[in-house]
Structures are given as C-alpha cells and as structure tokens.
C-alpha cells in the first residue's frame, strides 16, 4: 500500500516484550501520547520462564500511521519484535467473551437456542440468568452480543484479541 494512501485500515499488531514492570505503560503511553487508536489490547507472558510477554494490539489508521506505530513500538528498549499480522499474511484472531443475559420465559429459551448455534457454553446459570462463554473472531462475538440485546443482555466482558500468523510463520 503506498504511503500516500489516506484510507483507514485496521491492523492487528503483535509485540514481543520483556515481561518487566512498566512495559505495558510504555506501550499504552505511546499510543495515547501520539494519538493512535487502541481498539483492543491483550497482554500475557508467553514463554516458560515468564520473561517475555506478548502484547496484541488492534489499531486503525492510514498506511503511514500504521507504519509509524510499528516503528515507534520497535524503538522501545524492552521490545524484542513487532509484527503486523494483518499486513504480513493470513492470521487467526480469537477473542473470548463472557456474556450475561437476564430474562425468563420465551426470551430465555431463545437466548439458549442462539447460544447453541454460536457454540457458546453456559458457564453459570440461575433461574433468571445465564453467563455464556463464547470464543471466536471479534465479529462473531459482536454478532452474538447484538442478538442478545433483545433477549436480556445485561453485561459483557471481553478478553480482547489474541492472534497468531497462520502456517509456519512466527514473529
């Protein structure tokens, strides 16, 4: 994509960082300080010794802005690697959501039926409520939440996106 392209695109960026105090603040501070968007953010240690963490950021901007975000991340001292999963090739992105639905009667039955088609699991239930656990691509979760809106949707907790490149590629 040429640098002069002004269309906005979404980008899933994975960053491998030292698992040290303040590293998340550095990354988040970079985004807020320079006015970049964070649409989703996940972070957790990913190696056995717990020395490295992987941060997945979903952001959006013009080609020039996305390149700038990657360059800015790359120059942070505790950053080992930066990968633009959206640009570098096909990738899988998954998110986990917990969705609480409160209701009785027909709506409760309908919620359970839809949850079944989405392969959502019921992880908590009372006579008035369900908590569904749902894993999938962010747009699948969006669709599920949208359907629950009329069926007593009460609360949502989403993990943010975890993502990996497809096939043998690693960052």
């Amino acid at each position: 994509m040429p640098m002069t392209d002004t269309t906005q695109r979404s980008a899933t960026i994975s960053v491998l960082v030292d698992n040290e105090s303040g590293v998340l603040a550095r990354v988040i501070g970079l985004f807020s300080g320079r006015g970049y968007n964070i649409d989703s953010l996940t972070v957790a240690p990913v190696d056995q010794e717990g020395r490295l963490s992987r941060i997945n950021v979903v952001t959006s901007g013009t080609a020039m802005v996305i390149e700038q975000i990657k360059a800015q991340l790359d120059r942070l001292v505790p950053v080992h690697r930066v990968a633009d999963l959206t640009k570098d090739g096909p990738h899988v992105a998954r998110e986990l959501a917990l969705v609480k639905v409160i209701g009785t009667g027909e709506k409760r039955v309908e919620a359970l039926r839809i949850a079944d088609t989405f392969r959502a699991r019921v992880v908590d239930t009372t006579m008035q409520s369900f908590v569904f656990e749902l894993t999938g691509a962010p747009d699948k979760i969006d669709a599920f939440i949208e359907l629950m809106r009329d069926l007593g949707l009460a609360e949502v907790s989403r993990s943010g996106v975890a993502a990996l490149a497809r096939a043998t590629r690693v960052i």
Binding site: E67, Q68, Q72, R75, H80
Partner: protein
Amino acid sequence: MSAAQSQAGQAQSGAEILLRALKDQGVEVVFGYPGGAVLPIYDALFNQNAIRHILVRHEQAAVHAAEGYARSTGKVGCVLVTSGPGATNAVTGLVDALMDSIPIVCLTGQVPTHLIGNDAFQEADTTGITRPATKHNYLVKRPEDLARVVHEAFYVARSGRPGPVVIDLPKDILIGPAPYTEATVQHASYRPRTEPDPDQIARAVALLKQAKRPMVYTGGGVINAGPEAAAALTAFVRATGFPITQTLMGLGAYPASDPQFLGMLGMHGTYEANLAMHGCDVMLAIGARFDDRVTGRLNAFSPDSRKIHIDIDGSSINKNVPVEVPIIADAGRALEALLAAWNADPRQTDKPALTAWWRQIDQWREKQSLRFTQDPTKGAIIKPQHAIRRLYEISRELGRDTYITTEVGQHQMWAAQHFPFEKPNRWMTSGGLGTMGYGLPAAMGVQIAHPDALVIDIAGEASILMNIQEMGTLAQYRLPVKVFILNNQYMGMVRQWQELLHGSRYSESYSTALPDFIKLADSFHAKGLRAESVDQLDDVIREMLACPTAVIADIAVDQAENCFPMIPSGAAHNEMLLGPEHGATSAGVTDAGLALV
C-alpha cells in the same frame, strides 16, 4: 576488576557501586544538586576524586548543563538529583534532551523501596512522570541490578538515536551492599541498526546521479554521529558539487563559509535554502526529521522531489513526509557508503542541468534575504543582527575556539542566521522543545568541558531570567562564560507574532521591571557591561571577550526589529515573507495557519 578483588570481603554500598559504574562508563563530571534521598551518593562522592561534581542552583539547569557538556564533547552528560522536586524540576531538561536527541543519564533519588507508593516525603512517581520524557527509564529495586542498569543506561543513552535515560534509585538500594558487575556488550532487545543497506545506497546514488536539481538537507543526526560524520558529509557534498542546507540543529556539520552552503532552512531560513528545497527534484535528507518548523505546510513541501532519507531512527522515516529511498543507518556510516558508491559509479551527473540549477540558486541568493541596515551614526540604536555580526567578527579576530549557546526566541534565530559555524559541536541551542533558559546552563556545561575555550550564551533579556540563578554556579567554579543579551525589552518572538498575526496587540509580552543587569552581574561576582548605541557596541564586545571572568553584556537593541525571512505557519516554502529591507509588510495569515502555531 583487580581493585574489586582486593576489596573482596569488604562489601561496597550501592552508592559506591554506582560511582564505580559511572567511572567505568567514563564519567568525569556530574551536574547535580543534593537532597535527602541521594545523600548516600553525595557521601560516596565526598570520599573520592575521580568524578567531579558541579553544584548547580536548580535541577533543570543541571540537565541543560549536561546537555551542553554532551553536545560539545560527544560524550554522555551525567546528572544527579534528589527525589520528588529534584526529579520533577529535571523534567524540562529531560524533554529538551529527548527532543534534540542528546545523550544524558539522569540519576534520581527515590524514597526507600518499602515506602514507594505511600506518598512519602519527597516521593514522586519518577519513572511514571519521566516515561514519556525519556528514551528509557529504570527503577532499581534490587541491589544486584544496580551496576547492570547503570551500564545499560549509558549504552541506551549514547547508541542509536541518543537521548536521556533516567535511573531512579531508592535510598535503601544506595545504602545497602551491592555487587559489582562489568558492562556486557549486547542487549537482548535493543540493537540499533547502524550499517546502511547497500542496495538502498545504490538506489540513492542512482537517483542522485541523474538529479537535475539536487538538494542536500542535514540535521542534528550528523552532529550526533560525530566529527567523522561531518567530515564524510563535507567530502560527499564537495564530491557531488550539490547545494546543501541545514536545520537549526545541524549547523556546523558543513562549513558555513563554503559556497555550496545555502544557509539554514525552515521558518527563519534563507530565501535560497527554502526555495531550493521547494524546487528541487531529488532531496537527500540526512539525520533530519522533517519537523514542522522545517517543512512549513506539509502538502506543499517540496512537491516535485524524489526523496532519500537517512536516519538512525526508523520512526523518523515516513513520519511526516513519504520518502522513496529510506535508509536506516548511522549518518556517518551511510555517508561513507554513499561517497564510496558515488565515486565507484561510472555514470556522469547532468552537468548542464546542474549549472542551470546553480544559476537559479545564485539568483535567489542575490535577494540577500538576511540583509539589514545598521545606521552607523553615533548614538544610533543597535540592530540585533548587527550586534551578532560584530560579535562573530570580533571573536573571530581572537582566533579562539568559540562555542555558542542560545536561549530561545528572536535572538536564537538571529544567532543561527548571522553567526556562521565551520565545525560541528560548536553550536548548542534548544531546537525541538524551544526551552527558554537553556543557554546559560548549557554554556556552563560547555565551559566545564572546554575550560580554555570562549563560550558565549547569546541571550534575550526575557529568556536569561529563566535560569539566571546559574550565575552563582559560574561564580563558584570561576567559569568565564560570556552572556550576550540582546535586550529589546520584549519577549521578542512573541511580540513579533503578535505584530504579524494578532493585530499588534502586545498581550503580556513586554519585559517590564527588568533588573539592572550590571548590578545583577556584580552581585554574582561577574562583570556587567552595557551598550546603548552603535558606537559603544564594539568596545563592549571587546571588553567582554577580554575579561577573564564571567560577563553579562546587556546590549540595548531595536525594540521593533523582526526576524525575517519568515515562513508563516500554514504557508509553503515559496510563500515566505521577506523583511522591510525588501519592501515587504506583514502578510495575511489564514485562521488555519494561526492554529498551526
């Protein structure tokens, strides 16, 4: 190591280990100010002679002094301040160093680890506050990390794109025993790239060889890359015969007296430099970052050129201006590679086109955009440009190695325009942050590094008051810094913008109730001088330069003088305003331009 082994058994305190690491990093001078949290370090300093401590009068000045030291030597500047207010006072200096890529290591005291987060006396979240103000920062929580962190901090500060690094040191870490570790060579994640990609160098040379209207544009990155980089730049530019312009930060990397040098570019750059940037067909940018003060309106910036950009910081490339050939490398290494590839390339340059381009540049030069008229009659008011010209000419007669620092404002721009530099590391000014109060402490740091050199702070009467307390430091260490104040009794650049852009409503820009600078100098054990008319100027300059002590020379200059040429905010390079010398008056600036600052 042998010294350490001989002391084995007798554990050293964190403070002693800290000083040992500083010494191993080549630190000779620390600029600092004591306080509760850093008393263990001051105690350790008291017991040794290897590291000299310069006591400043305000922590901001400690950082600027370290910047002056760093810029004039190429070494890392070292700062030591206490916790809380010591650290917060240093923040302006840290951001200044960050914006101008100056290598600094700033040691800040911190309350003991068990009190962190308790709102203890003189506690501040220093790593939190300085995170966006530094290239990197550390909080040392374990004694075994201390020496490693110090070594790493110096490596991070000086390598890649240099910058300030803070090490926050809790008091218990300084008091308790700590082990020493030697510096390791490699960093696990931070590995700046210094060698250029040969393919990109080849592409750059191919572009440059076929250029009809080439332009070289260099910045502070060439200075930071060391004198070898400036030498490589000079050799390359001479080999090509191309015109060169420089940013405020880049001055001195190419000799200003050379006919290929078109002067500074940007908001107050020369007519020929800006028009050549606007009209060029191939641009070679080296160690410069296409700052808004350089580019003017971005969508009208050098519209027809194909651009090559060499920078050690990948995030500087394609940040503001898209370029065709990006080269991530040390400026010196890249210039050496460029020169070698240029000489090895059999293709000839387009001689007739280059001759025509130079003819065009010479026509622009004939405008003499920096021209001013000084009334020579006795009693005439001094033009600020004339004062700087005379300062340059008279100081050159002395033949001494001369270092110039500035404060921020009109005097800074006039100094950049009228005080030419032949060598790098002789010009220290706050470029990116534009910090008033930078010049005096920076001059202090330069004089510490170069005790026998002539060090002059070209100042304004408003800026100088922002760190005037450092006159005390000059007195204590007998630093013969010359403070040359262009006194127009206004915050001149604010006044100029108010005249040109805000209908001459001079809101709060008049310097009322100024001190008597002669008495002020006197009370700080320095010499005070004053020139009120043009016939007194040369004598005052000569007396100032001959004086063995610090001097404040208060030069009364024309209050109404504006700094031209000027590219108003939101305007393009070819829309620059010339001064009254060229029959110009203030031009209309759009609201959009006003908002651009």
